[in-house]
Amino acid sequence: MGVTGRYARRYARVVTMPTTLTAFADVTTSDSALRRFLHGLPGVDAVGLEARAAALGTRSIKTTAKAYAIDLAISMIDLTTLEGADTPGKVRALAAKAVHPDPTDRTTPMTAAVCVYPDMVATAKAALNGADVKVASVATAFPAGRAALPVKLADTRDAVAAGADEIDMVIDRGAFLAGRYLETYELIKAVKEACVREDGTAARLKVIFETGELSTYDNIRRASWIGMLAGADFIKTSTGKVGTNATPANTLLMLEAVRDFKAQTGIQIGVKPAGGIRTTKDAIKFLVLVNETAGEDWLTSEWFRFGASSLLNDLLMQRQKLSTGRYSGPDYVTVD
């Protein structure tokens, strides 16, 4: 926008001078230093946070903005199947859906990734057949994370070796809640190293906090900082396996964390809400949160993802409604 109105005034925006990550080197030298740092982060008032998330939820996204948001949301989906009953057939169907979400409309964007258990990575990779859809694998004894460190690392290396482009690890919530912050930090660092392939490239690492188990917003903010300091490429809310998964409030909080981290270090980190986001309306609310909190730099699948399965079909039905003018139904999207 370049027009200056009658009373508008323009002044240079003041932006915090970025420091570098080295400025935070001291805080991870010991458990007590890390504790002091994390407990020195600004507190979170739950009512205020939730009110802000709810207020942004009242944005009315219509017509062209809605079309943009729907396609963006589709392109940000980590299309997920994480069931004990997963089979190669199921994973192949998921991969096909990721590449052609709407067989009736080839202009529909592909999803960002498919997300599977480590033993399904190879199957998924093969099924995608070189399409520009990433394979994300959960690892580190997902979802509980209750395994010994070598097991978690082996789990990670397996997935990477099988071709995973991205690793979705879980933190040890037990260690975090017991106050062993440095252990949580070291785990993430170790997994990050395990993401490195033989050729020196690395799978991108998403760190799942299981926010429903961390319970408080202060904990979520602290966990976010541990993850960011330890080298997470994404911070992610949840596994989808507990009662409370992604909410607008906890995602807003994590968006504030990555925004602040970038302002202070220049390093951009992605955010992935996962679990419980099922409707287009919900997804658009999250995109509004991104837009008005972290900003447009995050409005790409590079930096924001939805961990979801049923969301995609609702987005597709809404997309059909926008292009045809009539409401769609479940028989007009694919069951996979």
Binding site: V47, T211, L214, G243
Partner: protein, 298 residues
């Protein structure tokens, strides 16, 4: 009590009570105070606007400590005033009898009622907050509490006729709730008020909480009513014309004004309205929220 024919009485020099001290009027003026039959009783200070100004300064200075004191502490001090008065009961019976032309028994009844009034208000200091304040059940995740707080410095034009019970009945509610007071005593019968100053000074009441001036309400009142550092004014003893004049002057800084009300019987149950007239309601909000981010509400 045998009357000594050789011993001459020691007269008392009546002085103002300001900031815990007993000054004469800075103006050096006095006026003659007589009993109901016109007999000379004493010379009382004829206070000036500068005395009123000094009294406001003293009252403002005392406000922080007095309003910040615990209600229990204020209660004990008000009760202490009653104790001290009880000890000087005979003196006040005599002074009130002289001032108001009452028989000894009627004057005694008035003094007793005044002492009891201090006891009544002593009991109110730590109850008024519960009676007029409380939690408000707002529709949202907030804790919300309304509490009464003292308005500040209150100028009091004391009743003209009821020189002691009326006086106590207007001072006690003002200070019980944590305000400080600048009192213009009954013009024609100021001596009980000036003697009350001596009682207040020996009752652990911090200096400046009550300041007693004698003289003309018509002279000092307009200055107090217009004073920007006075928060409220009680017009109990102002006549109709003066009350209107003072109310108009009080509008300059939007003082709380308690208009004169007809009082037939100062010994009647005073209720709470003289306290609430000089109380502000402060409402404090704070979010409550849930115990955790998991959305559980129980």
């Amino acid at each position: 009590m045998s009357e000594s024919t050789t011993r001459l009485n020691v007269f008392k020099t009546y002085k103002l009570y300001v900031g815990g001290k007993f000054p004469r009027s800075e103006s050096g003026r006095v006026y003659e105070v007589t009993d109901s039959k016109g007999k000379w009783l004493a010379n009382a200070p004829l206070s000036s606007r500068k005395d009123a100004r000094d009294a406001v300064v003293a009252a403002r200075k005392a406000f922080g400590g007095w309003s910040g004191a615990t209600a229990y502490n204020r209660s004990q001090i008000l009760y202490r005033i009653a104790e001290m008065l009880e000890g000087r009961r005979e003196q006040f019976v005599r002074e009130v009898g002289d001032a108001e032309g009452l028989s000894k028994s009627k004057a005694a009844a008035v003094v007793d009622a005044a002492i009891d009034r201090w006891v009544w208000y002593a009991g109110w200091t730590d109850k008024i907050g519960q009676v007029v304040g409380g939690a408000n059940p707002v529709a949202g995740p907030f804790f919300n509490l309304s509490t009464p707080e003292p308005t500040g410095v209150v100028a009091v034009v004391a009743p003209q006729e009821s020189s002691f019970l009326g006086l106590v009945s207007v001072i006690a509610p003002v200070i019980a709730t944590g305000n400080t007071a600048v009192v213009i005593a009954s013009e024609k019968a100021p001596l009980p008020a000036l003697s009350l100053g001596e009682v207040l000074a020996t009752s652990d009441l911090p200096g400046g909480v009550v300041n007693v001036l004698s003289g003309k309400a018509s002279e000092m009142g307009p200055h107090l009513a217009a004073h920007q550092d006075v928060n409220a004014i009680d017009l109990a003893g102002a006549g109709e014309a003066l009350a209107k004049e003072l109310e108009i002057a009080a509008a300059d800084n939007l003082k709380r004004v308690l208009r004169p009300q007809p009082v037939d019987d100062w010994s009647a149950d005073p209720g709470t309205s003289r306290m609430t007239a000089f109380l502000e309601t402060k409402t404090v909000w704070h979010p409550t929220g849930s115990l955790g981010a998991s959305g559980s509400s129980y």
